[in-house]
């Protein structure tokens, strides 16, 4: 590491309204990851401001950022990042552990979230006993555990086959209709097309930011031949 300061993002100014479904695109090195890290309060901006839900979070300390991540944000990762050898329900309850939710309530809330993502019958399964799509559903349930205002999904379909990808996008669309703001980072146009707004990054700048007529993932799924689902 040198001492050169690389400005990963330059002159990016935008607002995302509550209830939007945004896809962030761009080639690697375009700054979209840095943008996501800033949105997710995982990184401090060296300059500039970031307001989340009426609070300026760019000036908060590490502990305060942890609180914001816990209460206002949910994360979905490309490789799921579930705790191994830990049941689905305990994985989902993880954020509740850090928000001081009483034990009795934790279990109930985690269970409801798992039912919401369609895994009500897999509560005690370990990640190794679940398919990729199911694991990502557990991860989504976890991101919802603390009723966040914003869910950030970093390449949520990157490790999944195309049908499962559409299933996951359908789930995110359902959540979005229930009022949760969602930002998805992807490099696949097919995935981005399920979003209501597409932002394109290149060399640390926004080169494209336009509304998108979102495709409905559920009906897309219905059109797929069933054979593809069972094909090896």
């Amino acid at each position: 590491m040198g001492t050169n300061v690389v400005a990963a993002l330059r002159g990016v100014s935008m607002s995302i309204a509550a209830g939007e479904f945004v896809a962030v695109m761009g080639p690697s090195g375009s700054g979209k990851s840095t943008f996501m890290n800033l949105l997710g309060c995982l990184d401090h901006p060296t300059a500039g401001e970031y307001w989340l839900g009426g609070q300026e979070v760019s000036k908060l300390s590490g502990d305060e950022l942890a609180l914001v991540r816990n209460r206002k944000l949910g994360f979905v990762f490309q490789h799921f990042n579930l705790l191994p050898r830990t049941s689905a329900i305990d994985n989902v309850a993880l954020p509740l552990l850090y928000s001081g939710t009483p034990v009795a309530e934790r279990h109930g809330r985690a269970e409801r979230r798992l039912i919401q993502v369609g895994l009500g019958d897999r509560l005690d399964h370990h990640p190794a006993q679940l398919s990729g799509g199911q694991q990502q559903r557990v991860a989504i349930a976890r991101s919802l555990a603390n009723d966040p205002m914003l869910v950030l999904a970093d390449e949520p379909t990157g490790a999944l086959d195309s049908r499962t990808s559409i299933e996951i996008m359908a789930l995110l669309q359902v959540l979005n209709r229930e009022g949760i703001t969602i930002v998805v980072v992807t490099h696949e146009r097919d995935v981005a097309n399920f979003a209501g707004r597409i932002i394109n990054f290149r060399d640390g700048q926004v080169v494209e930011d336009h509304p998108n007529a979102a495709k409905d993932a559920a009906s897309e799924l219905a059109r797929l031949p069933l054979a593809e689902a069972v094909a090896p």
Binding site: G40, L42, A66, R69, F75, L83, L94
Partner: protein, 410 residues
Amino acid sequence: MNFVATLRVALNALRINKLRSALTMLGIIIGVAAVIVMIAVGQGAQARVEDQIRSLGSNIIMVMSGSALSGGARGGSGSQQTISEDDAYAIAREVDEIQGAAPTLRGTGQVVFGNANWSTGFYGTTADYLEVREWQVAEGRGFETSDMNSAAKVVLLGQTVAKNLFGDANPIDQVVRVRKVPLTVIGLLERKGQNMMGQDQDDVVLMPISTARKRVLGAALAKSRSVGSIMVKVRQGADMSEAESKMRDLLRQRHRLQPGQDDDFFVRNLSEILQAQEASSRVLSLLLAAVASVSLLVGGIGIMNIMLVSVTERTREIGLRMAVGARGRDILTQFLVEAVTLSLIGGLIGIVLGVGGSFLVGALAGWRTELSITAIVLAVGFAAVVGIFFGYYPARKASQLLPIEALRYE
């Protein structure tokens, strides 16, 4: 995140890696067990010395006859009978610090009862002897002044002698023969055990000094007043060296020694010898504990090693926990609790093994071991400190990870 939750997370992490947790604990287990066993052995040795001091009687000074010079060759102590019975009475009478002084004449001989016989040592002494040695009569009675004056044909038996002559029967009022002289058993001494040389102190027969002189030892000594040694007990709280020098002055005066002339007697402070031995056994037990502590230390380093590996291996997990809202101190607590839990569980198993090991050493090696609560508390406390100390560095390392870097770690 509250403590119970942290504890549960830590226990879960340990449970997931059972073999590794067990191996990590092994260091602490061995360390704690070693500390407990070593302290038990050390304290056992110390307790033995203390017992010997107690069995000798505390604050004892021995006065022995000086050496004789015959043809240029010096005899050993007692080769010349320079001290007398009257010296003992004078010491008891004139030196304030002295609680009692017992002159003793020593002899050996065959003791016979019926068709049983036993060779043993006998002491001719006074009633003061039992007081000086802090020796009680288990059955019957001790000597009385009238026994002394009349050279009464009475005897006190030590436990070993009584057992060899009478078995389990009651020896009181039976007549035994010591060197063919019939003496009535008036009392049985309580058990005293071994002395510091490993001699059986119960293998003894006591009789009034006058009886020994006039009836048992024979004509040669009948008219003399000399004795082999005087056993002196200094009063509790009195200054031993003060008493010793007063006694020395008194004896020199009584023996009419000129200034500059050598003492014709020896004075030995037995308690001092034993206290020196006690001090050395204390050093020994400290040394044993110190050596054992080293293994605890090594166990602690083992914990640090494993925790460091664990932090590296679980970097992504740490990143995830941070992403979902764990603060640095939550991560710190989690890893610290893991390390301390490891060392405490190891410590508890170590206690069990240490206690068992102490009994085993006692049973197999025949050493006396003394378990002490202090040692156990100390060992486990030390284990916990080791856990915190060696767990802190890896835990701190984990807590200072940046969430984005931890999440991206491959």
